[in-house]
């Protein structure tokens, strides 16, 4: 019982967690991490393409859940708080599972494209995939390719017996429409490129406003957090 209180206070939202990477101090409380994770989940859900992975947030929340579960295990049976903590754990686990599932579905759908993009991201601060996702993507890609090869391609005439991945890669439709909410006022956003019969269209996105528009013009704003997909 005393254990519960002790670890509980460790996990109180007032205690900043050390969520640092490459030496940069960035202290966030558990509830802030959860909030960020929830935003990442919704953005991922609505964005037509795969967004850079938020491994830190996922790992941090999983660790919190583990600690809380260890905690519950030591608590006295029938403690009112156990069910409350359990319900919260269920809610957080749902967000994490759903987030990772949506990512897997995109990785499977756009495998070739995702692997190409990952090349560009790999050595930056914002890798597209986690290590586990990368391994999964490679495995998935090769399983599909060898299936197509074994069942069809290798029985085809030599001049057509391979796949041109440029031609066949399934790519996300970044021109799809999305709903969004503006978090930070951003001026002069290019909404429509200039076309033959219409000029370009520029507008200001004001904090608090909600819009429906194509994803492409705001893709970078989603990544920076200036807008959220809803």
């Amino acid at each position: 019982m005393s254990d519960l209180v002790e670890i509980d206070s460790l996990l109180s939202s007032n205690t900043p967690l050390n969520n640092t990477e490459d030496g940069e101090e960035e202290a966030m409380t558990a509830s802030e991490v959860l909030q960020k994770l929830e935003e990442a989940w919704l953005n991922e859900k609505f964005a037509p393409d795969l967004l850079p992975v938020k491994s830190n947030l996922v790992e941090c929340m999983l660790a919190q859940i583990d600690a809380m579960e260890a905690n519950i295990a030591t608590a006295k049976k029938g403690d009112f708080r156990i069910s409350v903590h359990r319900m919260e754990i269920d809610r957080i686990r749902y967000i994490i599972s759903s987030y990772l599932r949506i990512r897997l579905a995109k990785i499977e759908k756009f495998t070739t494209h995702v692997l190409q993009e990952e090349e560009k991201h790999r050595d930056t601060d914002t890798p597209l995939l986690s290590d586990a996702e990368l391994e999964f993507a490679k495995g998935y890609n090769s399983s599909v390719m060898s299936h197509l090869t074994n069942t069809a391609l290798r029985h085809m005439p030599a001049n057509v017996a391979s796949l041109n991945s440029k031609e066949t890669a399934v790519v996300p439709l970044v021109d799809s429409y999305v709903f969004l909410k503006v978090n930070e006022t951003t001026e002069n956003v290019l909404i429509e490129e200039e076309t033959v019969d219409a000029g370009e269209e520029i507008m200001d996105l004001l904090q608090g406003d909600q819009h429906i528009m194509r994803y492409r013009p705001v893709a970078s704003l989603v990544e920076s957090g200036a807008v959220s997909l809803i």
Partner: protein, 209 residues
Amino acid sequence: MAALLVSSGMTNNYFSLDDILASQETIPCTFNVKVATMGYLDQSTSDVDINMGTKLDLPFWLAKYLHKGSRGIVSVDTPKTYKEGYRHIFTADPNVVDLYRLGPYFYLFGEKLLSLQLPDTDDIANVLLKTFQGRFRNIMDGSQNALHSDLASQMEKLDVQERQLFAAGQQGLHEFQKWESRESEKLSTSAMVSNHRKRKRIGYIANAT
């Protein structure tokens, strides 16, 4: 399982079955050269070759391939449905037209046609957009209200993409109603499992008789 379905729409990708079916729609072609030994493509004659000047309806994928380049093997003409006569009908009253019968991939095939640079390309492009805008309200109202009336007849005149749109409208409404009646709270058997069950039951009955 909706969470696992990345918004798909009609992607024009290499593996898309819809795109393959849309590119099977035919286009009136005239052969500019003789094509030896391929006479069997023309079912109206028993000639061994296709002779110069032969008129033949070819599927889009073949017409496009033979048309490209400056010395095109075939010349292409606008399919009847996209010619001026029909374009007038679409603009005058888009809602009475049975696009499925004329299509069924009215828009998708229409988009493909544009790449052939027919003389009336601009007019075709315009009529595609105007037709959709003109039919939109009916599709929306139908999909939001057609709960008790006959769905099949509502959807009959819609082209494939319009049907998908209609279905999306219906689904949004149904999901909301399921939520309102608290049905969405219930954990349920996955769709494939219950489909499989039903099918099996039908199978047993069929075997028994």
